[in-house]
Amino acid sequence: MSPPRRIDGLLRELAPQVLGAVTRRCGDFAAAEDAVQQALIAAAARWPDDGVPEDPRAWLIRVASRRLIDHVRAEIARRRREELVVSLVPAADQLAPAGDDDGDDTLVLLLLCCHPALSPASAIALTLRAVGGLTTAEIARAFLMPEATMAQRISRAKQTIKTSGVPFALPAAEQWGERLAAVLHVLYLLFNEGYTSSGAELTRVDLSEEALRLVRMLHRLVPDDGEVMGLFALMRLTDARRAARTGPAGELIPLDEQDRGRWDKEAIAEGVALVTAALSRGAVGAYQLQAAIAAVHDEAPSAEATDWPQILALYSLLLQMSDNPMVALNHAIALAMVRGPAAGLSRLDALARDPRLADHHRLDAVRGHLLERAGDRAAAEHYRRAAERTTSTPERDYLRMKAARLDGEPR
C-alpha cells in the first residue's frame, strides 16, 4: 500500500537530504543508502497513522542512523566471529556531525549516482532510489522488471561506485563539465523513458514527472548553467504536449495532428522563458537548441503556421554540434518543409549511406512521410517497411495505419 500523496511527496523531497547527511556521517555511501531506504519505508508505513513528526528530516536521519548502527554492529560481530579481532571504535562514536548544506549534498548525490562509470540503466535505477526516494519495488514496476533483479542492479551500481573510489564530494573543477553532462544525459534518458512509455497503469510511477522534478531541483542547485536550463526547458516544452500526444486507445498522434488546445500553456510559458534566458547567456549547447526547436513548435498556433525556416536554422546548428543520425533525419524533414519534399528526399538518399541509418526503420518512415507529401503512392511501401522493423508497438500500429490509409485512397 502506498502512503497518501502528501506524505509520499515529502518523503521524496527529503530523501536526498537525509541520505547526504547520513553518508557524511558514516562515510559509506552504499550502507547509508540501504539504511535510508529502510527509514523511508518505515516512515511510509507509520506516518499515515501516527502523523508526520514535527521534524520529519531529523526523524528520518535518526531512524536511518539507528539502522546503520545495527548494520555496523552486525558487521563487527561477523568480523569478530571470523577473525577474532575487534579493532573498531564503538559505532555510535564514529558519527561525525552532519554538514548543514543539504543542497550541496543533493548535488553530490546526483553526480555520484550518474557517475560515468555506470551504465545508463544502472545510473537511472540508482538515481531514482537514492535521489528520487523511490523504493526498489516502485522502480522495478516502472521498468516492468522483477524486484529481485532491480535490487541486484542497484546493489551492483553501488558496488561499482565503491570500487571506483569516487569520494563523496563535489568533483574538481576540471571534471565538473563531464560529470554534469553525465547527470543531464541520465535525466534526459529517464524523461524519454517515461515520455514514451505506453499502457500506463495507475500504480506505475510517472518517470517523466520524476525526471522533471529532478531537473527542476538541479536547476535550483546550479542556477547559472545554460545546459541545465536547456534540458529543463526541453522537458517542460515536450511534456506540455503530453495530453494531446495520444488518442483514447493510447495510439500515437503526430505533432501536426494534435489538438493544440490541449497543450499546457503554463508549461509552455515557463519553458519558453527558460530557453530564452538560457540562449541569451552566450555559449549555446545541444539541449538549449533542442529546447528552442520545441519552443518554436509549441508557440505555433497551428501546424501550418509553424516557423519551419527557423527550425531548419536551429537543426543546422545542432547538426554542427553533434554527429547524431536522428538529428540529421530531423534536419532533412525541416529541409523538406522549407524547400519542398524533393529537397528532403535527396538529403535522405545521402543519409542512407550512413551505416547507422541504412537499416533504421525511421529512415523508411521519414521517406514515406516525404513521398506522401510529394503525392507519391510509393509512400505506403515505405511505411510498411518501417512498420516491420520498428520495435515499438504504438509506432508500428501508427505506420500500418498510414500505409492502409494510402492504399485505401482512390487512384
Partner: protein, 131 residues
C-alpha cells in the same frame, strides 16, 4: 532493451535429455541454474521458463460460439520451443552474448549442445523521439 531468447530443440522425442547418463543430466541442470543465477546477479534477468514437451501442447482456436476448440498432440514437430529467457540488457550484442552462452549448454558427454537460440527484441514504446 528487453530481448526474448528462445531455445529450440530438435525433435527425436520430447525428452531426449531423459535418455542421457545421469552425470550429464546433472551437469546440464547445474549449467542452466548457474546461467539463471548469473543473469539475476547481473541485474539482467526478467524471467526464464522451461516449457512442457510438445506432447503436452494443444493448438486452440475460437469456435463460432467463442468457446475454445483444441487440436491434438504434435509429436511429429521438427523442432520445438523448449524454453525461453527474457533479459533486459544495454543492447543487442549483450543479448547475443547471453544466447551464445546458453547455446553452449553441456549435452551428452559434457559436449556443448550448440542449440539454436532465436533472439527477438520485445516490442515497447518508441525509444527515439522525433519531431
Amino acid at each position: 532493451m528487453k530481448y526474448m531468447l528462445m531455445m529450440h530443440t530438435p525433435s527425436g522425442g520430447p525428452y531426449q535429455i531423459a535418455r542421457w547418463p545421469q552425470q550429464d543430466i546433472q551437469v546440464h541442470i547445474a549449467f542452466m541454474k548457474d546461467l539463471a543465477n548469473a543473469l539475476e546477479t547481473s541485474g539482467e534477468l526478467v524471467s526464464a521458463e522451461g516449457l512442457a514437451g510438445p506432447d503436452q501442447a494443444r493448438r486452440v482456436r475460437a469456435g463460432s460460439d467463442g468457446k475454445p476448440i483444441t487440436d491434438g498432440v504434435f509429436p511429429e514437430a521438427k523442432e520445438f520451443l523448449a524454453g525461453f529467457w527474457i533479459v533486459d540488457v544495454d543492447g543487442p550484442e549483450r543479448a547475443y552474448e547471453i544466447a551464445a552462452r546458453a547455446s553452449a549448454a553441456p549435452g551428452p558427454g559434457g559436449k556443448p549442445l550448440r542449440l539454436e537460440i532465436e533472439v527477438r527484441e520485445v516490442m515497447s514504446a518508441p525509444r527515439d523521439r522525433a519531431e
